[in-house]
């Protein structure tokens, strides 16, 4: 209504928590190809914030690349996990996106050979791409959305005037 805008300034707030025994998980955060954060996560409820100009009608992907773990960091058979990164909360434009994440986010997990072997030996299934916010292994996590963000939310709810 009476708008001639074609972009918006949107604030992103990403809350991460890590658990680890020796070395912490590392996280890189991208918005599309733009790197916004890169560091080890050593805190509980670590908050990463940034503000970005989004162009209307464009597609965006918020990506968290979790790394810094390897075969030594977990013991599958004994079910001991020595390093984990949790995506606690994603807040975009002051909206807690909890309810949006299930339908619009996914994690691509780089399962280690020992894990795959164990799953196969025990007859269990696993999915490389799935909804997941407890990142035990090296993982690339995606949340896809469009701008304007409020219209994206309305579309997810199945209504609204665009």
């Amino acid at each position: 209504m009476i708008t001639n805008q074609n972009s918006e300034e949107i604030k992103f707030e990403i809350y991460l928590t890590s658990e680890y025994y020796e070395k912490p998980p590392h996280a890189q955060i991208f918005l599309n190809e733009s790197l916004k954060f890169s560091n080890e996560i050593t805190d509980n409820k670590k908050l990463i914030t940034f503000t970005e100009k989004l162009n209307f009608d464009n597609k965006y992907s918020l990506r968290i690349i979790r790394s810094n773990t390897d075969e030594k960091n977990y013991n599958i058979n004994g079910k001991i996990v020595n390093q984990c990164l949790y995506i606690d909360k994603i807040v975009i434009d002051n909206i807690n996106c909890e309810w949006l994440l299930y339908e619009n986010s996914y994690a691509i997990t780089d399962f280690p050979e020992s894990y795959i072997k164990y799953q196969e030996e025990t007859g269990q299934t696993y999915s490389k791409k799935a909804y997941n916010r407890t990142l035990i292994f090296n993982t690339e996590w995606h949340f896809n959305f469009t701008s304007p963000f409020y219209i994206f939310i309305m579309k997810c709810m199945g209504g609204g005037i665009y």
Partner: protein, 279 residues
Amino acid sequence: MKKYSREDLTDKLYPIEDPFLTGLPNTWYTQTQKFSDTDLFTRAADYWFKSSKLNTLRNWDQFGCVDVIMGCTHYIESIILKYGWDGFQILPQEYGYYGLMGKTGTPYKDLKPNTPLIVSLPNFSYADVRPEWDELLLICEERNIDIHIDFAWLTVANGVDIDVGHPNIKSFAMSLSKYCCQWNRIGLRWSRQRSMDSVTIMTRYYGDVNSGLISCGNFLIHRIPRDYAWTYYGKMYSQICEDLDLIPTKLINVVKIKGQDKPMGIGQLLSSMHHANQA
């Protein structure tokens, strides 16, 4: 002409309530009315609010997202709902709505960083823009405080000149309520960019809801001249101020007594003068 004295001033700041304004509900309820959709009303009301010859809002065109609100209190509640009761701040001497629910004002020099501020302009207590306005803008800029302006009183103001182009001013709202239209609270919110909140849900998600409210809003703006209060009562206001040695303000229903800082209501006196003149 009716005689008057300072005894006719009131502590409460009553709006103008003359037969024309108080007669509008009767007209609305007793005559056949036309339906108005949200889009039509929004455009008409946008034009109506902007057509004031008495006040100047510079850089209004930076606020291209326009939404219908159910009065300025709805605008306020939408902000509060988004940021939480402890997630926004106000200044001292604000709209009584906040105080009724226990919210107290923060002196402008003590405002918390990164926490949105809702401020009413003109402020009823000063009957003008707050004197610290320019300094307040600097503080908000330094502390990353978003400003949302409740312009409820602007509808009955005269001589207010304000630049809303400051980047920290994110939205503002106006309503018809001060024209004795509390019975059909309606107005507009202008935002730099639209975000998901109560007002957006009402107007953009639910869409054509409140058609009775909106149709009546359209009825009102086509009957009430934008600068009605000052056009019809301005001379009377000035005459009373001169006769009673009062200080005029920028609000039609507020005067000040020389040597006193307290605002006094002149709305009832003006309304009664109109009644007397009509008799």
